[in-house]
Symmetry: D2
Subunit: 357 residues, 4 copies
Amino acid sequence: MPRMKAAVFVEPGRIVLDEKPIPDVGPHDALVRITTTTICGTDVHILKGEYPVARGLTIGHEPVGVIEKLGSAVQGYHEGQRVVAGAITPSGYSEACLCGCHSQDAAGTKHGWKPLGGWRFGNTLDGSRAEYLLVPDAMTNLALVPDGLTDEQVLMCPDIMSTGFSGAESGNIHIGDTVAVFAQGSIGLCATAGARLMGATTIIAVESVPERIEMARRMGADHVVDFTKADPVEEIRRLTDGRGVDISIEALGRQQTFEAALRVLRPGGSLSSLGVYSGDLKIPLDAFLAGLGDHTIRTTLCPGGKERMRRLMGAIASGRVDTRPLVTHRFKLDQIEEAYDLFANQRDGVLKVAITP
Amino acid sequence: MPRMKAAVFVEPGRIVLDEKPIPDVGPHDALVRITTTTICGTDVHILKGEYPVARGLTIGHEPVGVIEKLGSAVQGYHEGQRVVAGAITPSGYSEACLCGCHSQDAAGTKHGWKPLGGWRFGNTLDGSRAEYLLVPDAMTNLALVPDGLTDEQVLMCPDIMSTGFSGAESGNIHIGDTVAVFAQGSIGLCATAGARLMGATTIIAVESVPERIEMARRMGADHVVDFTKADPVEEIRRLTDGRGVDISIEALGRQQTFEAALRVLRPGGSLSSLGVYSGDLKIPLDAFLAGLGDHTIRTTLCPGGKERMRRLMGAIASGRVDTRPLVTHRFKLDQIEEAYDLFANQRDGVLKVAITP
Amino acid sequence: MPRMKAAVFVEPGRIVLDEKPIPDVGPHDALVRITTTTICGTDVHILKGEYPVARGLTIGHEPVGVIEKLGSAVQGYHEGQRVVAGAITPSGYSEACLCGCHSQDAAGTKHGWKPLGGWRFGNTLDGSRAEYLLVPDAMTNLALVPDGLTDEQVLMCPDIMSTGFSGAESGNIHIGDTVAVFAQGSIGLCATAGARLMGATTIIAVESVPERIEMARRMGADHVVDFTKADPVEEIRRLTDGRGVDISIEALGRQQTFEAALRVLRPGGSLSSLGVYSGDLKIPLDAFLAGLGDHTIRTTLCPGGKERMRRLMGAIASGRVDTRPLVTHRFKLDQIEEAYDLFANQRDGVLKVAITP
Amino acid sequence: MPRMKAAVFVEPGRIVLDEKPIPDVGPHDALVRITTTTICGTDVHILKGEYPVARGLTIGHEPVGVIEKLGSAVQGYHEGQRVVAGAITPSGYSEACLCGCHSQDAAGTKHGWKPLGGWRFGNTLDGSRAEYLLVPDAMTNLALVPDGLTDEQVLMCPDIMSTGFSGAESGNIHIGDTVAVFAQGSIGLCATAGARLMGATTIIAVESVPERIEMARRMGADHVVDFTKADPVEEIRRLTDGRGVDISIEALGRQQTFEAALRVLRPGGSLSSLGVYSGDLKIPLDAFLAGLGDHTIRTTLCPGGKERMRRLMGAIASGRVDTRPLVTHRFKLDQIEEAYDLFANQRDGVLKVAITP
């Protein structure tokens, strides 16, 4: 039985490079030889034991690779094609999917809904930080990489770009909107790019790290508020001449940014939340206008599926967005522990790393 | 200068019947002779001093009456017509209104938005609990009562029915949805009726007062959970066979009901909040799925304007909904203090009272 | 090889009862033993040769039955369960499906879109008018019949009710809307019921057959215009006091009804079209306001998939809608030619027939 | 009584410069001194007598100017402010406006709806091609020009840009959509810019005039199909690899372009129509998939009102769009007949002209 290298979760604090059998390919599956993957903030939660996964699980949910083998029931693809799959791999046939809510998919269960059920890679199934990855429901999830795009050009599509853009989409941005984006990590940067792409005409990013401030401007921010120098709520009020913003996007996952994102809204505004929170949230009575402000708060888990990937890669192929600058460091899979160390500690101005087996 | 009777706020704990001049009619205004009005839970907040208004203000925001006099610039109406106006009286021309967000209207201000700005009667302008009421922006707000409808048939339109229905509308109910409605006071009962009217096919109301339980069934609830006998979250899970509801409507304004309304949602579900809260709210991490549940939380302030009133009265005229059973007690304006006493203390099974000058 | 009876298309004018092998069950399929099915207007087009299908194809797209055998890859069901499948059986995994446009699904093709591609039963695959039916993509399409519902109670779900309701849904009906429905055949009657279920408060049906006029009132019409006695456009203008309707639903498929449905709209109104047309359509310049009327014209092909079926059966189980009165005649599969003769010639007040093998 | 110059319609074929009294200012009005205006294709229809207006009416519906005098009831503005008003000047208070359908507004009428009722300038009221313009419902319609923007920078906002962008908006463009825009006159060019601004990632424009082809690329088209060199339907099919487009925008008003716009759609696609048609339209049966293609056809009349103008000027102020290149010629009001001659005959590569009194 042939074996492969994989970065597996051993126990809190330890993700190590290990060997595993190359998985068998079921009828709906595709085996993908990974050519590039990356590390996500969620993986750091897993590393720290804050988000529990099974011991021995291969971590990672951003696969770029080549079809190695197709399941017996998979049609419309052939071996050797370059593909990506989303971080979220919906079945396509659950009630959740048929309602368009692919991320909360639970194929085969009684009702067809399960919290976060569409997130399988590196969560309930072995993930992408390995030499090979088994993609479930391959016909729902494999998207061909357009000719001419490199691995690094599409590396953000599976998660970062899909999640970041969804922050703008769930905010329901219209032409002429004013938008605030809290935090300019890689997801926040993609939220900024998404807001720009949807027609927001004033985009205010909140960030303090100089490299990220610069990147925020590059991705489309009109203004960047450095929260170490000014209170962002006051500053956004000032920049909008007292009006507030139509939509705010939370891209960090903290009480402070959630609350600020609510406070900067004009009445009737929408808070689009992308952050992964680690504690209860408080909604202050005044910021919530006692429940009478016609507010919308919406959370979004990374949209997946091959059509989503096709659209995101289309945005890149057409030159509308370029996420390559987000990849600041490169490692071999063999260096995975070093990569984690850099990324988890946010050293050396790291935004995203590219990992190549 | 002719004078009229009016129920005015004197100080916390005291709303008394007083005399005031009948107001002058500006060019855009209409003077309406009130024939029937009612008392709202919000007025009880005002009475208790929890919601501050100016001393001497006439309270009340549900006017049914007859046009007594029209401003010089008002066209399309004539004196003697029977009319209602919404609790919310938008200008029609602010930026908020032009965006369709009439309740947060602030005509004449710099940006055209103001929290709760559309609520003027009994808040920033003299209200309806008087012999006469000055309706601002009359051409935006006066709706003719269809022939054949009595005052009591349309008395719930300005606030209770508009607010209750908006709970269903903001939840974006589709045919076949399962909906939970927390609390069956008059607004919750109208939310139940609205959910039924929009095609929800399983409606679960939460209530403990026997008369309200009965009324909930009459307004369209398929099930009523008595929260004094069973935990409503568990009971709703049981009634939905573990699935949860597509939409939950909060119609009380308490942490407990807000939190329960979140917990009963299936992933991807929507919480439509109507309650007026009196403290900070907590969103528990688990109920919020750490921000990854594709949840929507939306608050709605009572929609107003003449077109809204026309539609609600149409629902009554066509027999789709009958809100008359909500009027459980009747008083003369001279008995206003007695009426407040009954209503504020929720005695004698009161749901709503009709006040006639 | 065991054989079964099936009603097959032989040539224009001839659909006959024949014998065929019971089909083999592929990994994603389910074999359903049909207990009840019906005949649709579309089948009459096929019979007449107006809509071409392959010779020898089994006709019919409304299956109610019992799971006889499950494919090797099908999970979450067991043999013996009572099920329905929609007339449209989407794959769930094509790009069209992932966009929520299940009816135009083309799994396995290059782009994932194909005109009418989701309609497979009795069109591109053998259909339901047989003793057994092979359901493709069973996990996307099999919906369990709730306990206590008879075959005839759910017989309209696969097509008539799904299509009729979609006429109301695509019209985007809101509480208080005025709606006109042109033609009250079985689909028009379900459009009327759907409009009622979504909160339309004035529903005007157009029909001339006395039994259908009566049925229209029963399904929720407030008014019925007999087009043999009055011009429906004028009459609807009169009934709406000159205003016009917010939404009109075309449920016949003729130039005359399409055009009338456009003419009765208020400016900014929507025409929701369900009819299957057999010739080019004309949009009169005046009715179209020269293209400046903010009109919407939307066509909808019957929504399918198990979640759709679940919701429709839920509407029946909750007592919101009862489509049993639409079934006016009953036949054995052996009498299929007689059934066609009655139905195709619309004799004896027939609305829908139930066929039982 | 002071008088002013105005370009008035005399009879078909004749629009001449005349003298008229400067209008009186009613309580809701504002008198604006025009500093720049333009000529629209609609005006050419008026000139030719194809669209009837009253003899003696001042033509023109794109005002940029300075507030000269405010009506007694107008608040929130002061004389001397630079303003624009939309081509469409809704009242804000009709039922149509309260439904968000401002262009079909009919304030003061029985139902509040009137075909094209919001279009008053140069249609039912004197228009902008004069030294002074009376703006009705000034508080709904006057939008302040942001500091730093020239007249020519905002000259396209009242009509061309608002209409063009609405073609993209009514098409409901999402990130990753493929869009075709038929005709690249000034409105088509703005539709292209709007599609780009909303996130379309493949934009195919159809045009044959070299200057317009070049301009189309500048405004955001990825491909331009010259219909004199290739059949645009075939070419768009080829460019989309057989898939078709998600949205097509018709910006000419001819049967040929309408039909082509329908034929290039993928199933389930939307045709957003901006053209002003001059004859009945035909919908070919095959292009319409017999009414079973889940198609949407939507027409849109130029959105107006001050909030719309604010947003469009915001798009210009932020540098997202620059419409200055559309202004190819400049004339004094005294040269109006010469300007019409050039524009109506589309000589000298004219796109739009600027007229300054």
